[in-house]
Every structure is written in C-alpha cells, then in structure tokens.
Symmetry: C2
Subunit: 162 residues, 2 copies
DNA sequence: TACAATTCTTAGCCAAGGCTAACTTTTTAG
DNA sequence: CTAAAAAGTTAGCCTTGGCTAAGAATTGTA
C-alpha cells in the first residue's frame, strides 16, 4: 500500500460536528493513533503490576503475591504468571515462594508511572473532579497521556495554584 | 473471602508521597478500580470500531471493511472477525460482501463515544495541550473517564469560555 | 464479456491475561 | 512439633484481538 493510494484522504474537507477525518487527522495519523492505543493497552497492565509492587514494597517492605492479587482483584495464579513475565522483562526479581522485588529498571518504571498518576490526579482535581473520582479515573488515564499532555497538565496545575 | 479478612486495610495510615493505600483508596476500592479498568479495556475496542463505522457512514455514506481496516491500522481479517462480534452484540447489521450499518443501539454508542471524545479534546485544549496532541491523546482517554469526570470537563470548558 | 484487481471471507496460528482445580511449600497456632 | 491454614505454584482451559495465507465474491476495465 503506497501513499498515493489514499492521497484523497488528505483532501477530505473537515465535516463539522463529527469525529470524522479532518485536517489534523489523516487516515495514516489515525491508524497510528490506534496503534499507539493498542500498544498502551499492552503496556499498561505491566505498569499496573510494577507500580503496585512498588507500592507494596514501600508500604510493607515486601510485595507478596497474595497482596498483589487482592489489590488488583485477580487470582493468585494470574499474578504468578504475570510475575514470571515481569521477571523475563527484567522488571522484577523473584524466587519461588519468596516475595517480589523490583530491579532498577522496574523501580524506574514504577516511579515514572506513579509520577504520571499523581499529575493526572492533580489535573482532575484542578478542573473540579472530586477526590474519589479523580483517583478512580486516573487509574487508566495515566497510561494514555503523552509526555506533552502530562507536561501541560503539570503546568496547568502549577499555574492554578498561584 | 469476607470483609473482615482485610479489615486492617482500612486502618492503614496514608503514607505521604507514594501511590500507596490511603483513606480514599482501600484495597477493595483499588481492586474495583482495576476491575473497571480491565472492563474498560475490553469495551474500548468495541467502541473504537463502532465510532469508526459511524464516521465512515457519515463521511462516505457507507462503511466498508477495507476502510475500517485502513483507519484502525489492522488487517481485513481482523476487521471481519470484529464485525462479526459487533453483529452478535447487535451493534451493527452486516451481510457478507456488503458494507456495514449501525443498529440503533450502535448509533447510540457511537454518538456517546463521539461526544466523550469531543469533551476530552476540549478539556485538553483548555488546559493548554496543542491541537494535534489533544486529538492523539483523547483517543484512549475518552474510554476511561467516568460520567462524573466528563461532566466536570464539560463544566470546566464552558466556564473557561466565558 | 472476460479477466484483473480489489475486497471480503475463512481457516488456522499466536500471545496475552484472565480463570479453576489440584498440588506443594511455607507459615502459623495449638 | 505437628497439624491446619495460608500462600504460592502448576497445568490446563477460555476469550480477545491480533496475524498470515489461501480462496471466493465483487468490481472495474480492456
């Protein structure tokens, strides 16, 4: 499939009031957004696990898989499988029947994820979302914000406070 | 597993500066947030397809699966399988080798999805995110905002404009 | 009309991320 | 110290949503 195959898409006039293709949204751009979204869906589960492991370590000194399971609302078997995957990705260290620890890389991911989480919560609060809803909704939004958007959020929150 | 099994979670003091458990985030609440997030991941793909079918119908009078495939950046086979699923869910009508049409329910879902999409874009613009990034990031955030958050967004945007 | 290109369908594959059930190891209580 | 409870592991299953490859239907055109 070549570029010229769908050159006409570039010329489609922007229809008003729909989510349809327009100037800033060519077919190619849209496809790549969806691809990014699919990618995000894949990585966000990993990030959730890693962030949670970090939380547990910080709170309780160690992350036991039973606690991970409780907080994520999944079974122990599922956690086990996922931990194995995280281990393969070099995000955690784990020995059978022992609790889970973060590698440097894992810790870095957790901190980044956590930072994003907090920025999103702060932004939601700043535009008038109540505390509980902000925490609930940030879980999910945090993985879908580009660095640019997060920067804008941080900026906005900072200005709001002045 | 009973409530009392983890009553101690309610008493955990809120550690500062982490994403850890605190007053507004009991283990149960957190688990249910993650469950909601998993649910959202499942429904958002459906919504993406339905919204896109609506876009194509509005733009071109019909939704051909080759166009859906192009815009989502997936193969025709994938679209085919998904359309079959949407049909089972009574969101679309589709006959072999013919283009796809929305049922009333499908149209309703598309409109709702589109409305959310626009609110999110507007909010992002309002807090200083540039046009292109706003459109890119809204794709993904739109599925993760509760009605409360969307209402707050709409409210904030309206006030901003005055 | 017939053939070529395009589109659509089908079959079969894969990985991810859930689950249950059965089993082993570790921890805890008596 | 031993038995019961809790935690962790393993095996096997399911659904989703991707993919490729091969073939059938439709459409466009010489």
């Amino acid at each position: 499939m070549t570029e010229s195959d769908r050159a006409e898409d570039e010329l489609t006039p922007p229809p008003e009031g729909t989510g349809a293709i327009s100037a800033h949204m060519t077919v190619d751009r849209q496809a790549s957004h969806f691809k990014r979204a699919r990618q995000a869906r894949e990585t966000e589960i990993v990030e959730d696990y890693v962030e949670l492991v970090a939380d547990l370590i910080d709170e309780q000194g160690e992350a036991r898989s039973v606690d991970v399971a409780k907080r994520l609302g999944v079974t122990g078997a599922t956690v086990n499988k996922m931990i194995a995957r995280l281990k393969e990705m070099d995000l955690v260290n784990a020995e059978p029947y022992r609790s889970v620890f973060l590698t440097d890389e894992g810790r870095k991911m957790a901190e980044a994820s956590r930072a994003r989480h907090h920025i999103v919560v702060a932004l939601l609060r700043a535009v008038g979302v109540d505390e509980a809803t902000a925490w609930a909704d940030a879980e999910g939004m945090e993985h879908r914000c580009s660095p640019e958007t997060l920067a804008a959020f941080a900026d906005f929150v900072k200005k709001q406070k002045l």
